[in-house]
């Protein structure tokens, strides 16, 4: 019954919260509207969501967001230093292949987005079999270290969150 009304519970929850944030105040009217949207939109867009992402540990996602926000701040300072002080000839940029073994498209999307937002790295492309990401690093004196950091810091955590 509940599954019928909320085929995508996480999507519904997100939409409801988004609406409340948009309205920017907590009133009965906006709660009703949030509920209507949370039920209607997943049904209307159901054709585009054939599978539901399976979260094994949804709350670990909060810890993951915390780590990413911290990394974004630290990496911005690192990139700012490179921009301001490093002579252009010394900046060693490189393309790096990162093999991935994440199960779901949602997890891979999240990993790709994380790579773009953090330490001097940028997701450039995905392989046509979905098993590796091509990333570009602004300053990569050691390519292996960057690959290992992405795998251990982000991919390992995402593997624990998504089934």
């Amino acid at each position: 019954m509940i599954r019928k009304i909320f085929p995508h519970p996480y999507l519904s929850l997100t939409l409801g919260i988004l609406w409340l944030l948009l309205v920017n105040k907590l009133a009965v009217g906006s709660l009703v509207m949030a509920t209507i949207l949370a039920i209607a939109i997943p049904h209307i867009s159901a054709a585009y969501w054939p599978a539901r992402p399976r979260l094994v540990r949804p709350f670990a996602l909060l810890g993951y967001i915390g780590i990413v926000v911290y990394d974004v701040i630290v990496s911005s300072i690192a990139v700012a230093k490179i921009i301001l002080f490093m002579p252009p000839a010394q900046i060693k940029s490189a393309f790096i292949t990162v093999p991935i073994d994440l199960p779901s498209p949602e997890a891979i999307t999240l990993l790709a987005g994380t790579i773009t937002m953090t330490p001097g790295t940028l997701t450039v492309d995905i392989a046509d079999d979905g098993r590796s990401l091509l990333i570009h690093s602004l300053h990569a004196p050691d390519e292996g270290a960057i690959r290992d950091e992405i795998k251990s810091r982000y991919e390992a955590r995402l593997k624990r969150i998504f089934a």
Binding site: V72, V79, A80, I83, P88, M117, V124, L138
Partner: protein
């Protein structure tokens, strides 16, 4: 007292945001090549924007900044990804990019030109 402290915090965040925004823009000017230039706006400016948004959220006491932050985090990687994909599709030779694992091909890459 608390009001003054809050004002100082907001002012500091705004200045910080301005500095990072400026560094991001300066990076566009200073870094070489399209790939390197793509790094400047996606990193430095994110923190700059974040600082301004936090300042705005504290100043106005509003939750909508959370929404703006969320949309930035959703759209910035996508914009960067599409710029990068276009770039390696049309301006980077497949020989200059490391191969994918398991002999797969990169999705955006044109087939390697055969000599004839």
């Amino acid at each position: 007292m608390i009001g003054a402290g809050l004002d100082i915090l907001i002012a500091a965040l705004l200045v910080l945001g301005g500095i990072f925004g400026l560094i991001g823009s300066y990076g566009l000017l200073r870094l070489k090549g399209a790939m390197q230039r793509l790094h400047a706006p996606t990193k430095a400016s994110t923190v700059g924007l974040g600082a301004v948004l936090i300042a705005s959220a504290i100043g106005a006491g509003s939750w909508q900044e959370v929404l703006v932050t969320l949309f930035i985090f959703l759209t910035a990687p996508l914009t960067a990804l599409y710029l990068a994909k276009t770039l390696i599709h049309s301006h980077v030779s497949p020989a200059d990019v490391p191969p994918a694992a398991n002999g797969a091909k990169w999705a955006a890459q044109p087939p390697i030109a055969q000599k004839d």
